[in-house]
């Protein structure tokens, strides 16, 4: 019990400080838990160990250069973070990416969804005790990362999408490889299902654990598979279609009971749909440009004209960046959300007309999901807490920003 500190409250009650360095908390999450025997009495999550001030940093960067910050939010699905940010800035500026870029983006977003769900499946199963799945899932995830490397040269923090398109075009050969990979992937998902879906131990560890009704889930702000597991049809890819999602066919898997098992089934079915979306994207991929014409206009020089007010020095003063050209970006505000693998990833950007975001707010799904842990863990056992952390699919880089 290396990292765990145990404090005794009475003969039967005790306090367990789980984390911040615990393999089952998926990062630096700390849980203050009070138990009566093995039952949870109270649970208080504590976040902030990975806070880097990304929202503050973005205010000092130009729009194109703030994108690298978004890579570091949910670092296992950086492609969707980039797309979410680019989409927000595009909507702010009124740019439309060319069709080929839209299809490429949709394809890489779904590849990211596969890789993120694979990592979720691997760690979730490992936490519950099914080690084999971990090894299988990482085998496929490695292939996806290799594909990313072939597409853009980076594996983890990709920064591949650009405002108004994508950075480089994809070669025909790579598209063929991706197409082959989807075939392998569809078979492999059946393999994982063979290991888990009807496994007696898996069912007894996940069914009826962390039940959340649809009203509760909405009130708690759960999104993504965690909300769809409770049977709410909320998928931004369908409700507010972006990129090429309105042009491809796919289903949105829904659960019924809102427990860990249903959320597991939702994600597994979503993986199959993702593979099918990727295939459709490759089939329908149009030829043409990969970046919008207006993109060059937003390549703002880093040195803006600075206006300092309230306080004389750079240290204590408030710095406002203004350029000689009157308005670089139209002033206004936009909330733009995408369906990231973990849930709704929203960017709220306020522009004051200068070349930098006046305020960039990131609505991170993991942050909201962690706040739901106490509710989901009510009356469960210590071992179920691990299963619930796993089923919410949290990443601390995104929660702490």
């Amino acid at each position: 019990m290396g990292q765990l500190e145990i404090e005794k409250l009475s003969e039967t009650k005790f306090v367990l400080q789980m984390g911040p360095h615990h393999p089952a908390t998926h990062g630096v999450l700390k849980l203050y838990t009070e138990f009566e025997g093995e039952r949870v009495l109270k649970i208080v999550p504590d976040v902030g160990y990975l806070h880097r001030g990304i929202e503050k940093l973005a205010e000092s960067k130009t729009y194109p250069s703030a994108m690298t910050l978004t890579d570091r939010l949910d670092y296992i699905s950086s492609m969707t973070n980039n797309i979410g940010y680019c989409l927000a800035v595009e909507r702010l500026m009124g740019i439309e990416p060319p069709p080929r870029a839209k299809y490429i983006r949709t394809m890489v977003a779904e590849l990211t969804r596969l890789s993120s769900h694979l990592l979720w499946l691997a760690t979730h199963a490992l936490d519950i005790g099914a080690m084999t799945v971990f090894l299988y899932a990482f085998r496929e995830r490695e292939q996806i990362l290799e594909l990313f490397e072939k597409i853009c040269g980076a594996r983890l923090t990709v920064s591949y999408p650009r405002i108004g398109g994508v950075r480089v075009d994809i070669k025909e050969k790579v598209l063929e490889e991706i197409s082959k990979f989807t075939e392998i992937m569809l078979n492999r998902i059946d393999e994982y299902e063979g290991l888990l879906t009807e496994n007696r131990i898996w069912i007894s560890r996940t069914k009826g654990v962390g039940v959340v009704s649809s009203e509760e889930a909405l009130s708690l702000g759960l999104t993504g598979p965690a909300l769809r597991g409770s049977g709410v049809y909320y998928d931004i890819r369908k409700l507010i279609p972006y990129d090429a999602y309105s042009e491809v066919d796919f289903e949105v898997p829904l659960g019924e009971n809102g427990d860990t098992y249903d959320r597991y089934l939702c994600r597994i079915r979503e993986m199959k749909q993702s593979a099918l979306i990727i295939r459709q994207c490759i089939e329908k991929m149009p030829e043409g440009e990969i970046i919008a014409e207006q993109t060059i206009d937003i390549d703002i020089p880093h040195q803006g004209k600075r206006k300092i007010s309230a306080g004389d020095s750079l240290w204590s003063g408030f710095i406002k960046f203004v350029d000689e050209k009157a308005e670089l970006i139209p002033p206004g505000e936009i909330y733009s959300a995408i369906e990231a693998p973990k849930g709704e990833l929203g960017f709220y950007i306020v522009s004051d007309g200068s070349g930098r975001p006046y305020r960039m707010r990131v609505r991170a799904p993991s942050f909201v999901h962690i706040s739901a842990i106490p509710k989901l863990c009510e009356g469960h056992l210590l071992a179920d807490v691990i299963a619930i952390i796993g089923t919410l699919d949290i990443v601390m880089g995104e929660a702490d920003r």
């Binding site: 806070h51 929202e55 009130s219 309230a310 408030f318 505000e333 929203g346 306020v350 707010r361 609505r363």
Partner: protein, 173 residues
Amino acid sequence: MAQEIERNYQDSLKIAFLLREQFPEEVLEITEFRGQVSVTVKKEKIKEILRYVKEEQGFNHLQDLCGVDYYLENPRFEVVYNLFSIWRRLHIRVKAKIDDKEPEIDSITDLWEGANWHERECFDMFGIKFTGHPDLRRILMPEDWDGHPLRKDYPLKGRELWRGFKEILEEQK
């Protein structure tokens, strides 16, 4: 696609006007940008306004709650509520203006439990107090942190080292 955006925008605008009819004293301004409608309101009756929007107009999903600091403007702060109606597929934004002197607003944790941590973050980053919040503590910064980092008059580099770091540095000497 474009038609749908236009339709959604018109519908959201209708709701914004309904809101103004319902609360003529409270609604300050209705603005539109890129097809998104924002309603600027006074902070006093924010809970009633949001309850109306949630229960009468069916905006059941609180997408986001955050603060914005318009430094040197009066009123200085804004708390922004991004709401979405899942069955009507509509988005609306409600913004509450808050004064610099007493940055306070009613908590909406009764309406959406998920607002709890958003409000805590807003308090941590801007120093806006949410009255009626069950557990208003700092969330991302250390508990004994001085200042509110996302305010515009807070320097990017921070003011000084955190107490914890100082202790470590002193121990090394």
